[in-house]
């Protein structure tokens, strides 16, 4: 992270602006190389003395969708929650190794997890709208961040991006709890977008939804991908294959001799490769349904 010091300071993008990060002059990315948002190196996560995930190393490319797949309990959620420091909220959780976010150590002691979570939004498994109006749900993030003006625009833009505006624009002041499950989940996406993040972490965002609502969310992800980097945990192989550009496969390494069960990263590659011609046998077994 030594490069942090001489890193050029960028013009902050306006909150809820339509994305499109401005590349620094003279540093246009080469076609063969990809920009990387996150780099993780030897990341392990402990819950107390229990090591839930071991030595995870991979990069997350910018403006792509990355899927995390693997059997239940292998630590996908745990890994995902490292990227916006959500694990800080769990009393006995501890993260070792390093994760950088746009060149800066995410776990640097001067980094405030609150700001991290503003820049790296999260959508949860179960739609969790606040018991407030639709408007107040979307405006919640900007408000706590101190924004008072221009909220109407932010709310409208975010809801449009989340493909929900048409359905709710005449009842913004109704309770969010009155929406359907799929609508609620899109509202949660709008709520996450409203604070102007550049990454969205999604932990099984469709597992509580029916196929139609799921298809809408998948379409939505494709649409917003140009503005955001997305990491999605899913148990649905077809979904991973349909929406993601790269896929990381995790599994649980069970050692019966000392009774441990640790999540490990098996391989990361383009989604096409993972699903057609994986290099690891365990991946192949999993994606072909012979395991898990």
């Amino acid at each position: 992270m030594s490069m942090t010091d001489e890193a050029p300071r960028l013009i902050e993008r306006p909150v809820a602006a339509s994305g499109e990060a401005t590349p620094a002059p003279g540093m246009a990315p080469l076609a063969t190389e990809r920009d990387v948002v996150f780099q993780s190196q030897d990341v392990s996560v402990y819950y107390g003395s229990f090591r839930a995930v071991r030595d995870v190393t991979f990069d997350v490319p910018k403006n792509e969708i990355m899927a995390l797949i693997g059997p239940s309990g292998c630590g996908k959620s745990t890994v995902l929650r490292c990227y916006n420091r959500m694990n800080d909220l769990i009393e006995n959780a501890r993260v070792t190794g390093s994760i950088t976010y746009r060149g800066t150590d995410l776990y640097d002691e001067r980094v405030d997890p609150v700001e991290v979570r503003r820049r790296i939004g999260m959508v949860f498994q179960k739609p969790n709208p606040f018991p407030k109006s639709i408007y107040d749900n979307v405006a919640y993030g900007p408000r706590v961040a101190g924004q008072k003006k221009g909220l109407d625009d932010i709310v409208e833009n975010s809801l449009r991006k989340a493909a929900l505006w048409e359905e709710v624009n005449d009842r913004l002041n109704d309770s969010a709890l009155g929406l359907s499950g799929g609508q609620q989940q899109r509202l949660c996406i709008a709520r996450a977008i409203a604070v102007g993040p550049d990454v969205l972490l999604m932990d099984e965002p469709c597992s509580a939804l029916d196929p139609i609502a799921t298809a809408r969310i998948e379409d939505l992800m494709q649409e917003i991908k140009q503005d955001y980097t997305i990491m999605i945990v899913t148990h649905n192989m077809q979904q991973a294959a349909r929406v993601s550009d790269t896929t990381a496969f995790f599994t649980a390494d069970v050692r019966s001799e000392n009774d441990t069960r640790t999540g490990i990263l098996v391989e990361v590659d383009t989604t096409q490769k993972i699903f057609s011609n994986p290099s690891d046998e365990r991946t192949e077994n999993y994606v072909t349904g012979r395991f898990g």
């Binding site: 916006n84 939004g121 959508v123 949860f124 706590v144």
Partner: protein, 320 residues
């Protein structure tokens, strides 16, 4: 009663058990006894309420207004006999409890549930608070006495005026503090984790999450707890006796909202009830006066209690 089907005589056993079931007199008796337990309890409650109501008619039925305006007197036939001083004390005790115990108690609960690390010191404090809730109320009176009346600590008696409504209020605030902490803590624990995560997930700080999500969601539970503890404080007499509430003659009769009288000698509804009940042996007319005072006290206490119960039941139902 267990019919073993493997048994040769299983058929007979089943038949016998069905037979026995039909005439299950012991079971019926058992159930009746249980019902009686409840009935007796409720009957006692009913008799209590009816007795009080009947006894009180002498005062409430004939001179309610005078009774509410009157003061402590040594004869029950005195036409200036009444409750006003007691109501003054109780009103201000309630206000002082609300001002002192509620913010501190809710604040302590927020700290313990949301901030405190799960370590030995925290659990020590928690156990401590639970034990405080079980300390007899009369002991709190002793603390008030030592702390606020006798000037043993920081000369606080000069501030409280010694034996005064202020001292009584502070003592009862200390008394209900653990109850407020415990009930609010329960309300915080009931807040779903999803709400907190949602708010943290868009970049809210801890306090912002608490203020905008946790507190509003827990509000009905907290309100229930505060109503119950307020009812408790208004009904308590023992600690007030210890801090010197007046049961005999009390010169002043301040207006209900006369703040200046807070540091003067005082009495309160439960004290008035005690005093008149005790005097009823000497002067039978005090029975009616005591009963009437009880009616007034019960109106307040039961109103707060039922509001608390209704509120809780409503939200329990709503949130499943």
């Amino acid at each position: 009663m267990i019919s073993r089907l493997s048994d040769d005589r299983s058929r007979a056993a089943i038949a016998a058990s069905i037979e026995r079931r039909r005439g299950d007199t012991r079971g019926l008796l058992f159930k009746t006894v249980l019902q009686m337990c409840l009935l007796i309890t409720l009957a006692l409650l009913a008799v209590l309420l009816v007795t009080v109501a009947l006894d009180s008619t002498d005062q409430i039925g004939t001179r309610l207004w005078d009774f509410l305006q009157g003061t402590l007197r040594s004869r029950s036939t005195d036409e200036r006999l009444g409750l006003h001083q007691g109501m003054y004390g109780s009103l201000w005790i309630a206000i002082i409890v609300a001002v002192l115990a509620f913010p501190v108690g809710i604040g302590a609960a927020v700290y313990l549930e949301e901030y405190a690390p799960r370590n030995r010191f925290t659990s020590f404090i928690e156990v401590n608070i639970r034990n405080l809730a079980g300390v007899p109320s009369v002991v709190y009176g002793l603390v008030g006495l030592a702390l606020l009346l006798n000037g043993q600590i920081f000369g606080l008696d000069r501030f409280t005026g010694g034996s005064s409504a202020l001292s009584g209020g502070i003592t009862l605030a200390i008394l209900v503090l653990p109850i407020v902490v415990i009930t609010s803590g329960e309300a915080f624990r009931a807040v779903p984790i999803e709400l907190r995560e949602g708010a943290y997930g868009v970049g809210a700080t801890k306090w912002e999450v608490i203020r905008t999500q946790v507190l509003p969601y827990a509000a009905p539970g907290i309100l229930t707890g505060t109503l119950l503890s307020m009812a408790r404080a208004v009904g308590e007499a023992a600690p007030l006796i210890l801090v010197g509430a007046i049961s005999g003659r009390l010169g002043d009769n301040p207006g209900l909202f006369d703040i200046g009288a807070l540091t003067d000698q005082f009495t309160a509804l439960p004290i008035v009830i005690t005093s008149w009940t005790v005097q009823s042996g000497r002067d039978g007319g005090f029975t009616a006066a005591a009963a009437a005072a009880i009616v007034v006290l019960l109106v307040f206490v039961l109103m707060m209690n039922s509001a608390a119960i209704l509120l809780r039941n409503r939200f329990e139902k709503k949130r499943g």
